[in-house]
Amino acid sequence: MKDNVVIELEGVNKWFGDFHVLKDIDLKVRERERVVVCGPSGSGKSTVIRCINRLEEHQEGRIVVDGQELDDDTRNVAAVRREVGMVFQQFNLFPHLTVIENCMLGPTRARGMSKAEARDRAMEYLARVRIPEQAEKYPGQLSGGQQQRVAIARSLCMQPKVMLFDEPTSALDPEMIKEVLDVMIDLAQSGMTMIVVTHEMGFARTVADQMVFMDEGRIVETAPPERFFANPESERTKLFLSQILSH
């Protein structure tokens, strides 16, 4: 049995104007659990994880992160965001800051840590993503794979309880995908709680405790990877898997 629940979504509904993006989403993620979310484009995968750290607001249902319910109270939102790291498809590094400054900004400004301590911590995580030697460069001087690893280190510097990844490798050239996935596998093995939106099914098989398949705003199927890949229940999951695995 795994530990206590860190993220809980209960009957979450969301609309963009008239468009019903998320329909009755229920999801529980326990501590140290790794959840991989997949599904066709436009099915609402990004929207779900963006709701978890309130980059998007949901209109119905409950989202509880680490015991804090996400509502209009901005203090809750700030508290939740400090506990939830987010890695984006487009990296979103701060181009005007060096790699190490990118990593130090959150700890010094949002957590009030001293510069020296933040620098030590940043170096530690840059070493973990295997690019300590790039610390003084600007993001623009790095390759895509390196940038994404910096983005992961930047999030880790906040020592979050949960890491969210939104298609972290889909903006990368093929030869760089592996270096990023390797870092993520390390992270999973170190016991980080993770929700990962990805179509890298090899990665999913390696690390996932739970697979979540979404289509048209709904969670269609949730299953452990062995069953999910070998023996999916829903026809839509089968169709999706046959398309994605044939690549």
């Binding site: 984006f88 400004r109 930047r154």
Partner: protein, 273 residues
Amino acid sequence: MAASRPPPTHLRRGRWWNAPWFDTLQFAVFTGALLWLTVAGAMNMGYNWQWYRVPRFIYRVVDGELIWGPLIKGLVVTLEITAWSVVITLAIGLVTALLRLSNSFSGRIVAKVYLEAVRNTPLLIQIYLFYFVLGPIIGLDRFWVGVACLSVFEGAFACEVIRAGILSVPRGQWEASDGIGLGRVQGYRYVILPQAVPLMLPPLTGLVISLIKNSAIVSVIAVFDLTTEGRNIIADTFLSFEIWMTVAAIYLVLTVTLSVFVSYLEHRVRARE
């Protein structure tokens, strides 16, 4: 990553009509023609040029001591007005830009009303309003009435420049800033504005230049700036051609120096990236 190749030769070198020497030649011919027209025109109307009387309004040397003339004193006042106005203009521009971008409905309305009011009334009327209405109420002297009026006027333009700069920073930067737990003010301060300011710099230079030029308006409320001094000298001496040309030249030197300086700065900023 694709290796960056140098651009084709014809783009790198430029054609002869883009060369600096040709620019200079063009400029010289043009200025020469203009000068000739003026001089010829003045001769036709029998204007009596007395350039030798002009320098003393710029400086005099009495007993080996340098004494600045009224034009330089006026220039100093113009510079003072401009400097104060730049600071206040930027403050007003930043605040209204943030109001316009805020979630507060009343904040956005206040900003919008201010912008429309300022942009759709003549500057001359604004300075009269400030001088005859607001000045007495708040108890500002002329100098500060001038500064306040110019700042409020240019603040509306600064607001648009600053707003556009802020909006041109990609959305993902806000999301990353939120994602590492920075608040709104911190996000602006450490993430958004440092990226937006370099983008605002060129249009803000234009704004400072227009401030220098528009500062001449304070002469209507008898602040002793460059324009007022020039007019007073002419009233005494009737040297209208010489003095107005000199005044224009001083403004020109000021604005051109500024734009050269800023393009140098921009160049430095870009080189660093």
